[in-house]
């Protein structure tokens, strides 16, 4: 009896808190009420359609639920394998060192996380070889065995966070197939409300995911929150092509070829129609740079890849 009363009391408190804050925010009550109604009717873009905000998240979820199994195959087909180069470029610019902690949001099937691990391993090999190069008599293998393993405060670790369970399941299966046992975690979470504590990660990446987020500014705020001071925010996203000739070719390819590929390979025309439309609706390089700066990042810059088809934005939390 006491237990249920406590639960009830807690619920009432929570509701009353909400009422208190609502009335405190808008002193003139009538306008306050109109404001909250307007918020409910606020709409956003889903490709070229206009949908209410709650709708967008649900529809995006459905899109990725449908394409999860064929996602990697489709990426290769649509970009003719170039998406691998874009992701490799992201890692190259990131240049992570052993001991780094990565949070890959909208990481889905884990492309960035896997590359991160490989890069760190090759860095470790390089460090070992460098440490051993000074000694000349013994073979480098003997010497490296003598050296104790580097004492890092913690091992490098990658966390893949995605709002979609299906995408994460595909990624986890890939990891299991590759025999990865440690240093890689999978979490279902919302980019606008990350389930991580403040100042946790060295690097935050979001590759081809931020245009699917309903409130991009909230996602950027959360990114700032979970990064350590000195941490880096990196975002790969489709952007505006600067060259007009290339732009018209790209448009033709996007709208004529990609949905057809989607239908043939994944059996889903609409999802890929959404994909190409959502690219057009996303802000361009400069505008997105402004948004990142507004969120509180410093030294924001972007690199155009493939003539502007993809932009790599980077910012630091200082």
């Amino acid at each position: 009896m006491a237990a249920s009363m406590r639960l009830l009391a807690r619920r009432v408190l929570r509701l009353s808190n909400r009422n208190v804050t609502a009335s405190a925010a808008g002193v003139s009550c009538p306008s306050c009420r109109c404001y909250s109604d307007a918020a409910e009717d606020r709409s956003t873009h889903f490709g070229f359609e206009t949908v209410p905000e709650e709708e967008k998240a649900k529809r995006v979820y459905k899109v990725f639920e449908n394409v999860a199994e064929k996602y990697d195959v489709m990426n290769d087909a649509m970009s003719l394998g170039v998406h691998r180069l874009w992701k490799d470029m992201l890692l190259h610019v990131m240049h992570p060192q052993p001991g780094a902690r990565l949070l890959d949001v909208a990481g889905g099937t884990g492309d960035i996380a896997f590359r991160f691990r490989d890069y760190i391993h090759s860095q470790q090999e390089r460090q070992k070889r460098r440490a051993v190069r000074s000694s000349q008599s013994l073979s480098w293998q003997d010497i490296s065995n003598k050296y104790p393993s580097e004492d890092r405060p913690h091992e490098s670790m990658a966390v893949v966070c995605d709002i979609n369970k299906e995408m994460l399941n595909v990624g986890k299966k890939r990891a299991d197939r590759m025999g990865i046992t440690s240093g890689l975690s999978w979490v279902v979470g919302d980019a606008e409300e990350l389930p991580f504590d403040d100042d946790q990660f060295d690097i935050y990446t979001i590759a081809f995911g931020i245009r699917n987020v309903t409130h991009v500014d909230q996602a950027l705020q959360e990114a700032l929150r979970v990064l350590k001071p000195g941490g880096r925010f990196m975002c790969l996203e489709f952007s505006k092509v600067t060259n007009p000739v290339l732009a018209s070719l790209y448009d033709a390819y996007s709208f004529q070829v990609i949905p057809v590929l989607g239908e043939v390979i994944a059996g889903d025309w609409k999802s890929y129609q959404y994909l190409v439309e959502s690219i057009r609706k996303f802000p361009d390089q400069e505008e997105f740079k402004g948004m990142i700066e507004d969120a509180g990042f410093y030294c924001v810059r972007y690199y155009n890849l493939t003539g502007g088809v993809v932009a790599l934005h980077s910012g630091f939390k200082l």
Binding site: L7, D176, I180, V188, P195
Partner: protein
């Protein structure tokens, strides 16, 4: 005849997998680290063990407070707000809408002193 045997083998194994998957789950904590399962289809009655090293930086997305891992129900529990996040296939689901509201004294195994 060989084809019959082969088709029966295939359907039977599929049926076995399906039944095995729906069997009641017996969660076990083996070790802190997640073990790699090479035969992913076989041991489906047991949930893959949850990697508790994640708990170091995983918090409730609503209150940003640390969580408690409950091995019996295989959930992450936020005592303060009284909600539990499920863990499916070793992957914690931290979406607030998917969290379960805890009824005090009914579901959670070790209820703290009231």
């Amino acid at each position: 005849m060989f084809k019959n045997v082969l088709s029966r083998l295939v359907t039977e194994t599929v049926r076995v997998h399906r039944n095995v998957k729906h069997a009641p789950l017996i969660p076990t904590i083996t070790s802190a680290r997640v073990s790699v399962r090479s035969f992913t289809d076989v041991k489906d009655e047991v949930q893959p063990p949850f990697d508790s090293s994640l708990l170091e930086f995983l918090v409730c997305p609503l209150s940003k407070k640390p969580l408690r891992y409950d091995a019996n129900t295989n959930e992450l529990i936020n005592e303060e707000l009284g909600i539990a996040y499920p863990i499916v296939d070793g992957i914690p689901n931290m979406i607030p809408q998917e969290a379960r509201l805890l009824q005090k004294g009914a579901d959670s195994s070790n209820t703290p002193a009231q």
